[in-house]
């Protein structure tokens, strides 16, 4: 073996590949995750059924004469939202662990953040998909006129999903490497979900009660602030969870 020679970069020929940028790589990862989920559909339907079951159980756990279902609905909606979201988050990095596919992702010439963003995007769509069914189900089971506030509700749902997915995707990446992955993910995530659930539920109940939107605004500010801070912080933190 010769000693090292003076190095000059090998000239790239015209047909050389253009390495995917952050957005493109994130999109590829998200697309791949969604393709896997679509192929099996198990996790999605499990989360969906879980959400519906949860709504049902909560309904029967209260005395309908003591508590009006319309008062119960916002809380139940957003609590179920977080727990069914957790089911989706659990499997997020599980697919990468199975045959060490994560190594192939890390060996690819893409930025590490793209892996996080792509998976977070896929998780967002997963959570949103469950909500598309769960929110009407709440309106149905609890006899709540959610349709009257559907626009605001969609906005709240989007903001809440962003927060849950930002934190949950990161913790999913961490939990998958520990011994108690299924227990650890909810335990780490739930304290972080509390501001989200509070803001979403309080806003929903105020809007349902017909109170002016200005009353809901402080809560929405918290939710927005949470999303901004944690989407940024988790994206930055993600490369630190990798072994480098």
């Amino acid at each position: 073996m010769s000693e090292s020679t003076v190095a000059r970069p090998i000239a790239l020929d015209a047909d050389a590949p253009a390495l995917p940028g952050l957005l493109r790589a994130s999109w590829l990862v998200a697309q791949k995750d969604l393709a896997i989920e679509f192929r099996t559909r198990t996790a999605f339907f499990s989360a969906l059924v879980f959400a519906l079951l949860g709504l049902t159980i909560f309904y029967f756990a209260w005395d309908p004469t003591a508590v009006a279902s319309i008062d119960l609905a916002p809380g139940v909606l957003w609590v179920i939202f977080t727990f069914s979201g957790l089911l989706g988050l659990q499997r997020s990095f599980g697919v990468e662990q199975a045959d060490r596919a994560m190594d192939a992702l890390l060996a690819a010439p893409v930025e590490r953040e793209a892996i996080y963003l792509g998976k977070a995007a896929a998780n967002f769509l997963f959570v949103a998909g469950v909500q598309v069914v769960a929110i009407p189900a709440v309106a149905l089971f609890y006899n709540v006129p959610l349709g009257s506030i559907w626009l605001s509700l969609t906005g709240i749902a989007v903001l809440a999903a962003l927060g849950i997915v930002a934190v949950g995707t990161l913790f999913s990446a961490m939990a998958v490497n520990t011994r108690l992955a299924e227990l650890l993910l909810p335990m780490l995530s739930l304290p972080f979900f509390v501001p989200i659930v509070m803001a979403a539920a309080q806003t929903t109940s105020r809007l349902l009660a017909g109170r002016p939107e200005s009353e809901a605004w402080p809560w929405l500010r918290i939710l927005l602030g949470f999303d901004l801070v944690f989407m940024l912080a988790c994206a930055i933190a993600f490369p630190y969870t990798l072994d480098e």
């Binding site: 490497n177 011994r179 501001p195 509070m198 803001a199 801070v229 933190a237 630190y240």
Partner: protein, 255 residues
């Protein structure tokens, strides 16, 4: 490159120049009860004495109010401990200094202890005053969440065997947890406020009469001393464990 903590005779001691610092096998093992712990214990006893005998009881709340001298300093130290976790987490991720991780671990355990004290003394104080054991007032709720974050932090550590992975993950959680606290604070405050008006930490003069204020400060300093002593002892335990693991590793040969 970081200074690896392997089985070298320690020329670098943690913190002050304490004669009891662990050396190589030739010297005696460090005493479990060292100067710091004795000093802390004395300070706490002195604080208790002052609280019970030398501080007048409060007018409206009576004797039960005296638990406040434990409750508030414990709370402040619980948050101080988390501040230390936050800072050492950043230091670890930035410098990869293993010792920062050990300090974080020690501070988290002691912090959990203090937080538990707050959560126990809170209800004990609340029952005679408010009539219920638990009130979801803003401060106590925030402390409950601090407890959850500490618990999550320590459980995460417990679930990871490999040291550098554990340190990295803990550091990330330490930083994110610190970011969470203001949001919990805002959420809970917006939700309800039932706590007695903050009679010490007002921007202008605290409205406690002088003897009570002094007792409070004294108690606070005693608790800080306890915090430092416990963290120091726990940190040295961590160092011993790391050295033991390194020795075992080198005994296995060629790994």
């Amino acid at each position: 490159m970081t200074t690896p903590i392997t089985g070298r005779p320690s020329t670098s001691s943690a913190g002050g120049a304490d004669a009891n610092t662990a050396g190589d096998g030739a010297r005696s093992r460090p005493a479990l009860i060292d100067g710091w712990i004795v000093a802390a214990a004395l300070a706490v006893i002195a604080a208790y004495v002052r609280i019970i005998w030398f501080t007048p009881p409060e007018a409206t709340q009576g004797l039960a109010q005296k638990i406040y001298y434990l409750h508030l300093p414990a709370a402040l130290n619980a948050y101080l401990a988390f501040g230390v976790v936050f800072v050492t987490s950043i230091v670890y991720l930035w410098l990869h200094e293993e010792r920062a991780d050990l300090v974080a671990e020690s501070s988290a355990e002691v912090g959990l202890l203090f937080t538990t004290v707050v959560l126990i003394t809170g209800p004990i104080w609340a029952k005679p005053i408010w009539g219920t054991w638990w009130t979801w007032d803003a401060r106590l709720t925030l402390t409950l969440f601090l407890w959850f974050i500490y618990a999550g932090y320590l459980l995460l550590r417990g679930a990871i065997v490999e040291p550098s992975l554990r340190a990295r993950y803990s550091a990330v959680l330490g930083i994110l947890g610190a970011l969470l606290i203001p949001f919990i604070h805002m959420s809970v405050y917006l939700f309800r406020t039932l706590h007695p008006m903050p009679i010490v930490l007002k921007p202008d003069r605290p409205s406690l009469p002088p003897e009570m204020l002094h007792t409070l400060i004294f108690s606070f300093l005693a608790f800080v001393l306890v915090y430092l002593a416990l963290v120091r002892a726990r940190y040295r335990l961590s160092l011993e464990r790391v050295r033991l693991a390194a020795l075992e590793g080198s005994l296995e040969g060629g790994r």
